[in-house]
Structures are given as C-alpha cells and as structure tokens.
C-alpha cells in the first residue's frame, strides 16, 4: 500500500527566484534548425514556470539540426516534467539530461579590462595564470578570452574586478557527455518491485 500520497510537485512557486537548493541540471536538446524553434522552447519554460539559467544554441554537425544546451534547476519531478515537455515538442529530436551520466562542461567569456598603466602587467599575469588569451588591446584596455568551467570563470572575474572590468560577455555553458549515451526516454523508467 502506498501510504499518504505526496503531490508530484511539492513546492509550486519555483518560477522566479527558484530556491537554489534545487539541483542544477544541464540538458542537451537537439532541435530542428528552423525559425521559431527557440521561441517554442523558451515558451515552454516561461509558460510552465520553469527557470532557464543559461541557454546556448548553435548548429550541430548536421546543419539541419541545432544543439541547445539549457542549464536549469529543479527537483527530480520538475526535471522529469521539463524533459518530458521538451520531448513533446515536435521540433525537438532528442533530449538528454546530462546529469544522468558523467559530462564535461565549458564556457567562454570575453572580458574587457580597463587598465591604468601601472596595472597592465598585473592583468597580463592574471590572464597567464588562467591560461586565458589576450585577443585585443588598446592603449587603455585589454580584452581577455577565457574558457573553462563555472568556477574558473568566477575566479578570474574576481581577480580582474579590482583592476576594472569594463564589459563582460559570457557564452553560457555548453556540455557534452563523456560516453556515448542514449536519450532520456519518453517511456518512464521501470518501477521498483515491491
């Protein structure tokens, strides 16, 4: 006997300012590369009160398809709904919740540092430590390109901040599974035996 039934989604207000205790998930979504698809995916999230932390899209190996990497948060049931709802979209070809297996993630940032003459050497040293590249330079700025995981991004930003970050752009995260994997299926997992 099942005992008292718990609602599938226990805390409803997970839309804006969703509690950070929810686990972060990175979901890879292979979609048709045509107009309107991004709005369908974004609309799914906004319409159901799910949260997108970051999203990146670009064509995949097959130019008729694009790969989206969506970073979101939720408890198991919210993530299950997100995966199912994404699968339900007709323009979505494959959905993979990367958290189910091991994966690697990367993000790229371009950081424009406004430097005083006495700080310019320090800026280069920091870039060097993080194996970042200086991709542009003007008499008063350096533009530094850095790639890595979220922690590395935060670390270099923290160090460069005192020197004066003028502008910062981040790509949002992309991630890939370490092993070839199967998509998250529409058919639910087997239930545990009693």
């Amino acid at each position: 006997m099942a005992g008292a039934r718990t609602p599938a989604i226990s805390h409803t207000p997970f839309a804006i300012g969703s509690p950070l205790i929810f686990m972060e998930h990175i979901i890879s979504v292979l979609v048709e590369n045509k107009f309107g698809v991004l709005s369908r995916v974004a609309g799914l999230f906004s319409g159901r009160g799910f949260n997108i932390e970051s999203l990146s899209v670009a064509p995949s190996l097959d130019p008729s398809m694009s790969m989206m990497t969506i970073v979101t948060r939720g408890d198991d049931r919210i993530i299950e709904q997100i995966v199912k709802q994404l699968n339900k979209l007709i323009d979505v070809i494959k959905v993979v919740d990367l958290n189910e297996n091991e994966f690697v993630e990367r993000e790229t940032a371009l950081i424009k540092v406004h430097t005083k003459p006495e700080d310019r050497a320090e800026a280069l040293r920091i870039a060097d430590i993080f194996r970042a590249n200086v991709v542009d330079s003007t008499p008063t700025t350096y533009t530094i390109e850095v790639a890595g995981d979220t922690k590395k991004m935060e670390a270099i930003i923290n160090l460069l901040q005192p020197l004066g970050i003028k502008e910062l752009v981040r790509t949002g995260r992309v991630a890939i599974a370490r092993e070839p994997i199967r998509p998250a299926t529409a058919q639910p997992k087997r239930i545990a035996k009693e």
């Binding site: 008292a4 039934r5 599938a8 007709i90 979505v92 529409a186 639910p188």
Partner: protein
Amino acid sequence: MKLTGAEIFVECLKREGVKTLFALPGGVVLKIFDILHQQKDIDVILTRHEQGAGHMAEGYAKATGKPGVALVTSGPGMSNIVTALVDASMDSVPLVCFSGQVSTSLIGNDAFQEADNMGLSRPCTKYNFLVKDVNDLAVTIKEAFYVATTGRPGPVLVDIPKDVSMNKTDFKYPGSVSIRGYNPTYDGNKWQIKQAAEAIAKARKPILYVGGGVVFSGASEELIELAEMMNIPVDMTLMALGAFPGEHPLSMGMMGMHGTYWANMAVHYSDLVIAVGARFDDRVTGKVSEFCPHAKVIHIDIDPTSIRKNVNVDIPIVGDCKRVLRELNQILRATVNGEQKELRKPWLDQIHEWQRAHPLTYEQDSNGPIKPQHVIKRLYELTKDRDPIVSTDVGQHQMWAAQYFKLTKPRRWLTSGGLGTMGFGFPAAMGAQAAFPGRLVLCVAGDGSVQMNTQELATAVVNKLPVKVVIINNRYHGMVRQWQDLFYEGRYASSYLDVVPDFVKLAEAYGAVGLRAAKVSEIDDVIQEALAVDRPVFVDVPVDQYENCYPMIPAGGCNHEMILADPPELKKKQVVGTPVVGEDKDTVLTA
C-alpha cells in the same frame, strides 16, 4: 498544370476527406474563398463570429472523431478564434485551423489586419506552421492533419500569407509524411502492463478512473470488458461521460468537484486507482496531497507529460488506451476466476450503501418555481430513446446535465472541460448537427453562457441546423453566484445579469423558433413541441434563481469532504440577502 495556392488548398482538403469547413472571410483569404465558391465537395458554413467557427469545428470533431476544420482571415479573424484553439488544446480536440496572413513581403510591418498569428497560436496549439512558399503548401497541410489527429490529438494552425494563396506551382500531394521529432508511443510497455494486471487481480477495492482519452482512442468496448470481467466500478471525469454506459450497474457517474457522492467516496477509499486517459485535473483530485490516500495508482495515457505531473504514479503506462486495455484484458482473461467477484463484493456493497445514503436529489414543488435539475432530468427522459448528442455550456447547468444525462455511448457528449469556455455549447451543437444532419442534437445552456454566442442563431437558421437549445435561465451567472453564496457571504458582485433578453423573441428575430416553459406543468409539452420542429429552437426555461449545485467539493478540499446541500446559515442569508434589484422584472420575463 500549375495550380494557385488557393486551388492547392482546396484540393488538399478534398484529399483529406474534409466535408465541412467552418469559415469567415476577410481580405487576405478572398482568393481561397473564391475557389471554395466554385466547387461542391466541401460544404462551407459561414459563421457570424470566428469563435463560433472554432467551437463548431470542435463540436464536429468531438462528435465524429474526425478533425474539425476552420478557415479565418488575418488579424482579428485569427485573434477571435484563439479561444477555441485554447479550448481544443485543453480538451485534446483534433482541429486544423487555417488563418490568412498578409503577404510575405509585409509580414512584420504592422500591416493592415496583420497579427503575429504564429506568436498568438504557439502556446495554444499542438503545432503551428507559417507557409512562406507555395511549394511547401501541400506538404504542410498534410503534416497539419497528421499532427492534429495522431498521438494525443490537438489543434494545429496553418498560417497562409496572401501571396502564397495567389502564387502558382505544380501540385503534388504526398501520400504520407513523417516528422523525425514526432513519434507518439502507442503500445504500452509489456512489463508494466503485466505489473498492472497483477495489481488489478489482487486489489480488493479497485476503481477505474476514466477520462476523455478513452473516448478519443475509441476504447469503450475494452473498458466495458475490463470493468465487467473484474467487477470494477467506473468513475468518469466530465470529459469521459458516455465512454462507459451511464445506466450500467458498475457506472458511478461523474467524479470530481460536482461528481456524485459515491463516485468521490469510492475513489477516496479505494486501494487501487486505475486511471485511463485522464490527467488528474485539480477539479477531479481536489486537494492533491489527500487524493486517494490509500491507493496504489496505475496510469495509462498516451501523453507522457500527463503522467506524474500532478500525483505520484506507481505503475505508469505510456500508450494508446485502446491498445493498452486490450493487452491488459488479454492477460487478465487468462487468469480470471470467480474469486475476484467474491473478493470485491464487500466493496461494491459499500458503494451501494453510499449510493443509497446520498443520491442526487432536488425537491420539485409542483406549483413552485421550476428546479433546473427537473428540466434537465425531463429533457433526458424524454429524449433518451433517440440517442441524442448533448452539448452544454459552462456553469451550473453543465454540472446538472453531467449528473442527470446518463449517456450510453461515447461521442454523444460535447462540453468544454479543461478551459471551461462559456459560449461553447451552442456552436458546438451546430458543428455536431452539421456532421449528422439526421440526428437529434441538444444543447443545455445557461442564460449567461448562451449570450456569449447568440449571433450564431443566424448561422443555424441559414444552414438549416435544427439544434434544440434549452436555456436554464436563472438570470445569474449561477456558478459564480453559488461560490459567492458559499465563500463570499452572499455578496453577488457582478453575477446578477439584471437584463436578460427575451430569448423567445431573440430566436424569432433570427427566424428560429422560440418557446418558453414558465410552469412545471408546461415543461414536458414544451420539450415535445421543440423536438417536433425541424428548425433551430431556443427553449427558455426560467428557473429557481437560487438553486445550488451539489454535491460540491470546495476548491482545494478533500474528495470525501463534500458539501451535500446548502448549509443552514446560507439559507438564512438568502432570505435576508436576496438582491431586490430587478426582482420585479421576473413578471416581465415569465408572463
């Protein structure tokens, strides 16, 4: 030979077997209407409002199981039909809606009668298409019908710019289409089905909780077999009425907020809930955390997102209801013995006891005001031999119709469930009548609801759609007033309608027939008179204004804690708090 987009459009509809098109023209779709005008295979029903066209297409689809098709113009034409698209989306109605669009060169320029049709329809359709090139038109239409009618059915919009309908190309209609991102699951997981069969065989207090999915997949036969073989009582949702014969001894009638006492008690105290083609809507579950607290749950649904959306499920089965039930029955048939019936006797006895304790009741004084339940009950009794199709609007009358109409077959019940769209009933009835000219089509409406689409009287008269509309007229938005009685201390904020048109004269003004039953003794005669006429009829029945619909589970309440009658303090309030405004007008209307 090259055909214009408009010719291709008409040709594609013919190939899809479309017989009836509900439509209203406008500038950008004139080319299409011009071609439609020159052919005889597709019957074009001109509606008086695009919302009417949408609901007619829904009624057509619900009654036939085939896709309903509508054609509207750009801008306001499109925005007017949005309500019907949302409604169809909530109730899984296969609809293919075509909208006109300004020429491709003007899209995005805020041109005259331009609207972002794709943006408007995206959240309320299963899928939508913008055809930018006439060469894509035929395959897009094929895909639209394919998506609307397969898997979990739903509305699909095809947006056709003016130049696409004018341009010419070679016509090739694809025999079939496939979409790589769209592969509905029809066959249930065998292992899960076996688990379900074992759970069903073991259960002492099982209940079938069936929804609209049973109707859409045509699984009634399989459902009846399962219920009879295993002696399982059947609770129906509003959407499922007719999926299981209403007068069958195992039918518990409707469950949920205004469901029967025994249907709700049964689901609350059961030890196994077998949900088939239902989605655990809040109007059914009440307080989710207290829904069937003692039960294991089996959930069969074609839409994986319905499963575990609202409640936890022990045995989920994604698949088409008909196929899954057939397979389930096969396993059970091999193992069934007399034991199950014996095992469940105490459970059925308990349910019958609940049935005896709190049947559906009302008190009709033969000289007093007409009780709305009485009208609906008489309508049911006088028409049941003719196997009518019944549509309803939304509100108290809808719930009473759901309680008192015991439908024996699926696709006889047209109602707006998920969205609760007032104004749905009358055009939906007309859509069903257009599909079945010879059948009796009834519409139970409220005075508030019916006024949301009375303009379609003209459509009914012109197209000879002899629907019989019975208006339960209490001159209130009755369900709103009921909530105000129960939860807002009887303050009737904007629920009293004050001026209600004379529905008899209104019908006559359009060239339809208007009748009125003002006394209890007149009800039968007036209904018979309406049935005898081969024209659209409005029957106005002024009823007790303060009758409330029970049982009722207050929103967010538990299923076993129903309000069964007006609470005593409420009755007192009615006497004191009855609004006097407009009271004298009763005489004007009922005289």
